[in-house]
């Protein structure tokens, strides 16, 4: 009972504080669209934000990074979201009236389905590049077995599962592979939609997840959050320093902590160097205008993003996302202040 009242009081205090800190005028609706990968988090923010600022409504649609940028550029939305930030050409199209703000981050994992192996698979750089290029064909290949002496790997063909649709996830994943292997760079290359030399493809993170779950011998790349929510097992990957790192929120945060963000916040982590860094991680960006036509909208966007960068960060781990390092969040908040 006592704790209950304290809790209620705390909540009330928080609401009062939030209400005083966020000057949102009478009912304003802001809409955004973009990346599907952070969509669950943004939707959570939107519904939580509504509680602190009842007059502001935030609509977010996970339509994909490319479509999000297009919608933002054509003025259909008040803010956008993209896993690959924006290219210089796209920024030019916006007339420079755009800020790229890292809002959260995530890792991409190689999830597998090998009957009899519940956890603990380690993949060296040669092994996962070989698998994805189709040169390593079965799970008991010496290249895989070398680092997994404790596992009994079956003589099962490997089915590589990739994305059939254009995707920021693919772009981040392939840019890592490009950085790691010259062979991959010449044969496949990086981008939102590439041609994989082997395997099958599914639409969206969920399509890939379903294919992995259903196919014995499958391995595919999905966002950490999807893998965690769907109870997929992910392989420990060898990083640049040579250590095998299991994908967790902590190892992802370690990777992010070592990133040096440039002035425009557009930093791609292709191959982090830290000894304990998980090798494939990425920021994901919110795209906001520097100058809004309506002051109400500007205030609402600022309030929403501020909420996401402060209170919103605490819910990130439970949904499988990585909390932004404090130093990054501070810099982003400072940049957000310039929005008018």
């Amino acid at each position: 009972m006592n704790t209950h009242t304290t809790l209620v009081r705390l909540c009330l205090a928080a609401v009062a504080l939030a209400a005083s800190a966020i000057p949102v005028k009478a009912s304003v609706t802001i809409s955004g669209s973009g990346a599907t990968f952070p969509a669950p988090l943004y939707l959570r923010w939107a519904s939580d934000f509504k509680k602190t600022a009842p007059d502001a409504t935030v609509n977010y649609q996970g339509v994909g990074s490319g479509a999000g940028v297009k919608d933002f550029l054509s003025g259909l939305t008040d803010f956008g979201a993209s896993d690959v930030a924006m290219s210089d050409a796209e920024i030019a199209k916006a007339g420079g009236n755009v800020l790229l703000l890292p809002a959260t981050a995530g890792t991409i994992v190689l999830a597998y389905n090998i009957p009899g192996i519940e956890a603990g698979l380690k993949l060296s750089r040669d092994a996962y590049i070989g698998i994805l290029l189709g040169t390593v064909k079965t799970w008991n290949d010496p290249l895989i077995a070398k680092n997994n002496a404790d596992l009994k790997l079956p003589n099962l063909p490997i089915t590589v599962v990739s994305r059939s649709d254009g995707s920021g996830t693919t772009a981040v994943f392939t840019s890592h592979l490009d950085a790691v292997s010259a062979d991959f760079k010449t044969k496949v290359g990086s981008g939102k939609s590439v041609t994989w030399p082997v395997g099958v493809a599914g639409k969206g993170n969920d399509g890939v997840t379903a294919l992995i779950k259903q196919t014995p011998g499958a391995i595919g790349y999905v966002e950490f959050g999807y893998a965690a929510n769907n109870k997929l097992t992910a392989a420990a990957l060898q990083n640049k320093a040579g250590n095998f790192i299991t994908p967790t929120i902590e190892s992802g945060a370690t990777t992010l902590a070592s990133v040096n963000l440039p002035e425009n916040f557009r930093a791609f982590i292709t191959d982090p160097e830290g000894a304990n860094d998980y090798p494939i991680a990425t920021f994901t960006w919110l795209l906001v205008k520097k100058n809004y036509a309506s002051a109400d909208k500007a205030a609402a966007v600022k309030a929403f993003v501020t909420y996401g960068l402060t209170t919103g960060q605490t819910v990130a781990p439970e949904l499988g996302y990585i909390t932004l390092p404090d130093s990054v969040a501070k810099k982003v908040l400072a940049a957000l202040e310039t929005v008018k």
């Binding site: 339509v63 994909g64 990074s65 490319g66 479509a67 297009k70 064909k137 063909p157 089915t159 059939s164 649709d165 254009g166 995707s167 392939t174 290359g189 990086s190 981008g191 939102k192 939609s193 590439v194 041609t195 994989w196 030399p197 395997g199 099958v200 493809a201 599914g202 639409k203 399509g207 379903a210 294919l211 259903q214 196919t215 014995p216």
Partner: protein, 320 residues
């Protein structure tokens, strides 16, 4: 007798004099049909306008190219064209004998009428199942089956190019099997209608000449209904070619050229559904080019169908 007689000349004539005036109904019909034609022209025009940059840039090489790599702006759809034709053809190959057998069974008096009605209703109900449900059913039922038996096929018959391993669950064969089921009601319903329409005296004549039931079916009824059966096959082929959702869920979405039925493949409609949302720049034009090719293929199939239909109608004209 029961009709009250009206004195002649005591009433005005009931039928009014015909006076020509503006025929609004005719005008409305003309407008509606013109609108349909214009709409089609508009869609085609829009596709071609958007496809033009790609047509201009890639030309014929787009059709003969075997690589589809949007990240390198290399676009070739030959594997996808082959996948489209192969999956539809295979589906037809599987569904036609089955559908025709069902249609025959339901049009002859093998079973009492009410039971035939029930079977017919159930088969036509297959057409009412949404595509995505077929896709899900395929994922949970057909994919594991193909994976399991495909591996055996690849093991025993792998020397044949069409059964070359490794066997995938999401493959051309899986998509074709589900497509076959999806086009089955089309084939059955139209073939049955054609078989029922065969004039009864023809059967009686055949029996009177001493034919057995099977001789009558094979020599008289089937040839007479041939045009309807061909029409059914073409409609089914067209439907299989345009089918998107279930195929995208089952075919494996790979743009690699492969001779094996057990390898993943792709179709034009699945490619469009998968890549359109996130495409930008020249990729949009390339996808529009692919869409134009799909329209062209459907048109070609319909024209061939029409030609076959006319030919068979002519050759069986004497029987009617």
């Amino acid at each position: 007798m029961g009709v009250t007689s009206i004195p002649v000349g005591s009433q005005r004539p009931i039928i009014r004099e015909y006076r020509p005036r503006t025929d609004f109904f005719k005008g409305a019909c003309l407008l509606a049909s013109l609108a349909t034609v214009l709409l089609l022209a508009f869609i085609l025009g829009e596709i071609l306008i958007n496809a033009w940059p790609a047509i201009h840039k890639f030309g014929f090489g787009f059709i003969t190219g075997v690589q589809w790599s949007p990240n390198r702006e290399v676009f070739g759809v030959l594997p996808v064209l082959i996948g489209t034709a192969a999956s539809s053809f295979l589906a037809l190959l599987l569904a036609l004998p089955l559908g025709l057998a069902i249609a025959l069974f339901l049009s002859e008096d093998f079973l009492p009428g009410p039971i035939r009605q029930v079977i017919r209703f159930v088969i036509e109900l297959l057409a009412a199942i949404p595509s995505v449900v077929y896709g899900l059913w395929g994922i949970f039922v057909v994919v594991p089956l193909v994976q399991q038996y495909g591996a055996i096929l690849a093991d025993k018959l792998g020397f044949l190019p069409i059964f070359q391993g490794p066997a995938y669950g999401n493959s051309l064969l899986t998509a074709s099997l589900v497509l076959a089921l999806m086009v089955l009601p089309t084939i059955t319903a139209i073939s049955r209608a054609a078989l029922v329409a065969v004039p009864y005296p023809l059967r009686e004549g055949a029996y009177a000449l001493g034919s057995t039931r099977w001789e009558t079916i094979l020599r008289v009824i089937l040839p007479t209904a041939a045009s309807g059966i061909v029409a059914a096959s073409i409609l089914a082929f067209g439907r299989a070619m345009g089918e998107t959702m279930a195929v995208a869920m089952l075919i494996g979405n790979s743009q690699r050229l492969s001779s094996s039925l057990l390898a993943p493949s792709n179709t034009l409609s699945a490619l469009l559904a998968n890549q359109f949302a996130e495409a930008d720049g020249i990729q949009v034009n390339a996808l529009m080019y692919a869409a134009a090719l799909l329209v062209l293929m459907t048109l070609a199939v319909n024209m061939v169908g029409e030609a076959i239909l006319r030919y068979t109608q002519k050759s069986t004209a004497g029987l009617r």
